[in-house]
């Protein structure tokens, strides 16, 4: 796909204002091929905010999506990273091995991407944790089982 990274950046901007012309290569919609190019901010906008809402506001219904804004649990980067890797209380996991998912199934994020999105949420929405998590640190955490989900 041409200029994937540039396209995704433009897509992230247009996501906010809407009105992007639809076509099959629309950068708004990622595939397994393009998902890997998303950075932490884009991952938040494309995936996380579906539940955790813009600006990490969270939401409350019969149950709640935790507010990420000014979230005290975020003092532990491991807590955040493990949540993204393994899921928690119904949240889908994003850390199963590459190539085991489908476009139509749960998304795979690389350890570097998980580090990036962890750093993003820990430094935005009123969170101001300075320490940067690295891909290597995420790699050292337990990941979901390799057999987890995928076409048989």
């Amino acid at each position: 796909m041409r200029n994937a990274a540039l396209g995704l950046a433009i897509g992230a901007v247009l996501l906010l204002i809407g009105g992007l012309r639809a076509d099959a290569d629309s950068p708004l919609f990622t595939s397994r091929a393009t998902l890997g190019s998303l950075n932490g901010e884009q991952i938040y906008a494309h995936i996380c905010q579906g539940c955790h809402m813009p600006e990490g506001r969270g939401a409350v219904g019969a149950g709640a999506y935790p507010k990420l804004a000014a979230n005290k649990n975020f003092i532990s980067w491991r807590f955040v990273a493990l949540t993204v890797l393994d899921g928690r209380n119904g949240m889908p996991p994003f850390g199963f091995p590459a190539g085991r998912g489908m476009d139509s199934g749960p998304a795979h994020l690389s350890d570097a991407q998980i580090a990036d999105v962890v750093n993003y949420v820990r430094s935005h929405f009123g969170n101001a944790y300075k320490a940067e998590v690295t891909a290597a640190e995420v790699s050292a955490l337990p990941h979901p089982a390799a057999e987890l989900i995928g076409p048989q």
Binding site: M1, L15, G18, G19, R21, A22, D23, A24, S26, L28, F29, T30, S31, R32, A33, L35, A45, H46, I47, C48, Q49, G50, C51, M53, R57, A59, V60, G61, A62, G63, A64, Y65, G87, R88, N89, G90, M91, P92, P93, M102, D103, S104, G105, P106, A107, A145, E147, L148, I149, G150, P151, Q152
Partner: protein, 527 residues
Amino acid sequence: MSRRELLRMIGAAAGGSAMYQAMNTLGFAAESPYRGPIDLQGAPRGASILILGAGMAGMTAAYELRNAGYKVQVLEYNARAGGRNWTLRGGDRYTELGGHTQQCEFDKDLYINPGPWRIPYHHHGMMHYTKLLGIPLEPFFQVNYNAYLHSSRAFGGKPQRFREIKADYHGHIAELLAKATRQNSLDASVTKEDQEMLLESLRQWGALDSNYAYVSSDASSDRRGYDKNPGGGLSARPVASKPVALHEILDSGLWSGVANGDNFDMQTALFQPAGGMGRIGEAFGKELGPLVRYNAKVTDIRQDDRGVTVTFTDIQSPGAPQTARADWCLCTIPLPILAQISMNVSQSMAAAISAVPYAAAIKAGLQFKRRFWEEDEKIYGGITYTDLPIMNIGYPNTGFQSGGKGVLLGAYIWGMRAMEFTAMSPPERVQKVVDYGSQIHPQYHQEFENGVAVAWHRAPFTLGCFGMWTSTTRAKHYDNLCQIDGRIALAGEHASFIGGWQEGAVTSALDAIGRLHQRAVAQGAAA
């Protein structure tokens, strides 16, 4: 994007049931265990049960236990019965998590089912209760040979009729296999006598000519359709059509959509309730009447050696928390919500409750000024599959040739793309669904009037579409989830091997109340 990637992606988009197979790695070849009405004789006098959730599981249980003589109370978060069994009609309002409210502006009698939309004939439990409740059923067309298989990257983006792709795919395979048979390439695996039979069967199955070739002919056109259909009178003579080359079918990936109706859950006959799937939940709610307390948000579930106390708040008129108490509790609350509710159950059940991720899914209903899919394209019901992010277009299986407006399912999306749609506001979702759909039906922009788009991760009463099990989590947690814990049992599609289907909810409820009943009987009236 690699060729392999492309094929996989198109296959994923086209394979309607691939999602369920991939996400529920066990249990899909099994027929529903439903074996007729449950027998709950001998309920102890005065025994009571509290049921949490008025979806298909909760209401099935409430109906049977009430009839068996139990004192039944049901607590439901929504202001309506049904849970995911739900139909949006003109005038309905729906507020999702995050606060966006959608006003459904469909005309009278037009609707969309944001949740389940079909009932296979072998979902015997669902068939039983729809009959019991007097719900008229209509056929649901899982396969429509005149609907489309579409790849934005093949055939110039032009949608292909299912009929043509299926006929050509099978025809070319038959020709190849016939060639191999005649060259004796299959020698050891097929006897000489069977070779003759195989060749004849391939000719019939693939619509081959007398030389075992798949070519333009009356035989192949009788499968894939004619360029000019047979008719009557002087203009009667048909003109045969020309098959698409094998490599084009293979390159397009559309072959992966051919088997969509072959999966057990998708095999004819399938049904839909007339007037919308929600008719079932509505009828169940009416049947149970005052047994269901609506607008009740459960905040605490506490059992002791004599019973179960549930604390809830009335979300319409919040005040001091209220409590309900019974000897037993059947909890059908979806797991992402239940995981957040304080409850004194065993560590193993608590772990199971937290171990099941819930799928993202989107359904969008679009109202158009006219039923152009019927008028212009002769598509009456059924489903078009596409590699576009909308993934499916479902045409209404009712109201054919009714002239006026129509509502179709503009998108049924799961996985990564559903997450991305979920992250948008409802108007943005509808706009994107219209934009993408217009690549298949150019009439969209001209004819579109209004739409709704439900993102299941933002449904306040479920926080997701359905529970996704894997073989690992099944092995570790499934039995612990379904085991009665003291005086509490769980039920719902999440406690079944028919995940994402209403039949899972019904059969899990019957299984759970059968076991609760045994315990209640064993403990007697003193429970």
